[in-house]
Symmetry: D2
Subunit: 157 residues, 4 copies
């Protein structure tokens, strides 16, 4: 069993009819994520992408988020979200993540929110790996690179 | 299966060593709930209490949160929290709820956050049941009253 | 005096050395917007863009946010953020907004967060104007169109 | 001029008709603080109390929030909120704070949210001053004690 609640890997996702994604987790919309339009607020999707990204980094070994010297500090340099359909209170969903492009000390990831057999929102992020002091780039760990290339089919640049 | 993710009833909670609580759910600390002290921020506990309260109201039939005429609007009149120990990233926890005192159109609930065999935070709330227009009190539904008295051992006033 | 706290128009912004932006407001970083890295969390910037957008819509007359029939429902279809430099507790900043492209029932806006003479984050959003029931497009109000074209120098498409 | 935006001291507050409070700030309700009931969400009030508390601590010299060794870590041990009337989008308000009881290494504070000549919410918090490592109590700084006793009329225990 994973240390992450409701974590999903490729076979789990395939069994749910979600194809092309190596990693995700399932959750349910909470009241405090809604806004006066009765929809999930636009900013909440970024917190879901953040959740799946942090779990993904730990799962693939890019960072343990221990904030020790053996870990990089990985920061978001750019991100975008497409809002495809509104989401509602108590709605069950799956957030998925994968790496699209892997460079020496950065990566581009894609995200999606799935519910009711459709994608409700999709996003992408440009992430940069820094030393803990934030001043210089730090290359990704070899083991993490191998795993991402093997599992996600990420392009190498 | 419940429509609520990770929902827990009395036998589930007893099996986890959590006694005296009829209802709860399990979850895990998210990054956006932390503050610069690396702890869960104080305000986040209120969102957890809100989550368990809304699920509890639906489960016990006090309100379906449909915002239709057959539902009351239940508002928080007062609440308090005791912070007993800090909580950290990825920590697994259980939030529990019960009704302590049930009046005609109001109730007092207790909440607790359990982790690692201890209570990390506890709280209580005074809740008032109103008509949908918010101007007058609306008595609780009979079926919900019966269920709360039977399951929670709530005092009747 | 405006009904909006700390609202800034073109002359105000010019006086602060912020050029090319017709509208904005000033604010200060709050503790609950920070995350464990001691920076403003990535999702918080979207709430700032939302703040300035809602004020802008009211100020320019696109929507009064009254949720009555005389107002459209304006939804975010896509948005992106560039994070250029981290921001810290109590940091003073100005958020600015302008319309770049104005179509019959949609628009593209740009946003920026200014602090210490530099841009800390920039963003853009694609917004769609709908009827209150959310099913059909609703054209922008004429008065708002005139004002946006005159003040923002938006392109018309 | 203060480094804090919209900060208010006793004469400012008196001039606004808010009596008995030594410190506060003014602000305006934001869209992301609302929930589907169109009211300010209950948890948001705790963030406002946190904002005024952190500013108060810096203003009175209890902590500079520098997280250096010359500062205590001040944690919330208990807090409560009374919700007296709902608050709405764009509503202007003032949040005030004062110390009611001052002990060697703890204090009890009161808070209130004022709008339209009435108190919309009130609260109190029990705060404990710890060493930066969080293990032992640290007595308050003398200068801060003198200032709180003189300005707030706090009881000494």
């Amino acid at each position: 069993m994973s240390e992450f609640l409701n974590q999903l890997d490729t076979p789990d996702l395939e069994a749910m009819g979600i194809h092309g994604w190596p990693y995700g987790y399932s959750d349910q919309v909470r009241f405090h994520e809604l806004d006066p339009l009765n929809h999930v607020n636009n900013a909440s999707y970024l917190s879901w992408f953040e959740n799946v990204r942090i779990r993904y980094f730990q799962y693939y070994g890019l960072s343990s988020y221990g904030q020790g010297d053996d870990d990089p500090q990985i920061v978001v340099r750019q991100q975008s979200v497409d809002y495809l359909a509104p989401m509602f209170q108590d709605e069950r969903y799956v957030v998925t993540a994968r790496t699209r492009l892997l460079k020496t000390s950065s990566l581009i990831m894609d995200y999606a929110v799935h519910s009711g057999g459709a994608v409700r929102a999709s996003g992408s992020a440009v992430l940069v790996s820094l030393e803990q002091d934030g001043t210089a780039r730090r290359p990704h760990k070899d083991a993490a690179i191998k795993r991402i290339l093997a599992t996600d089919g990420a392009e190498r640049a």
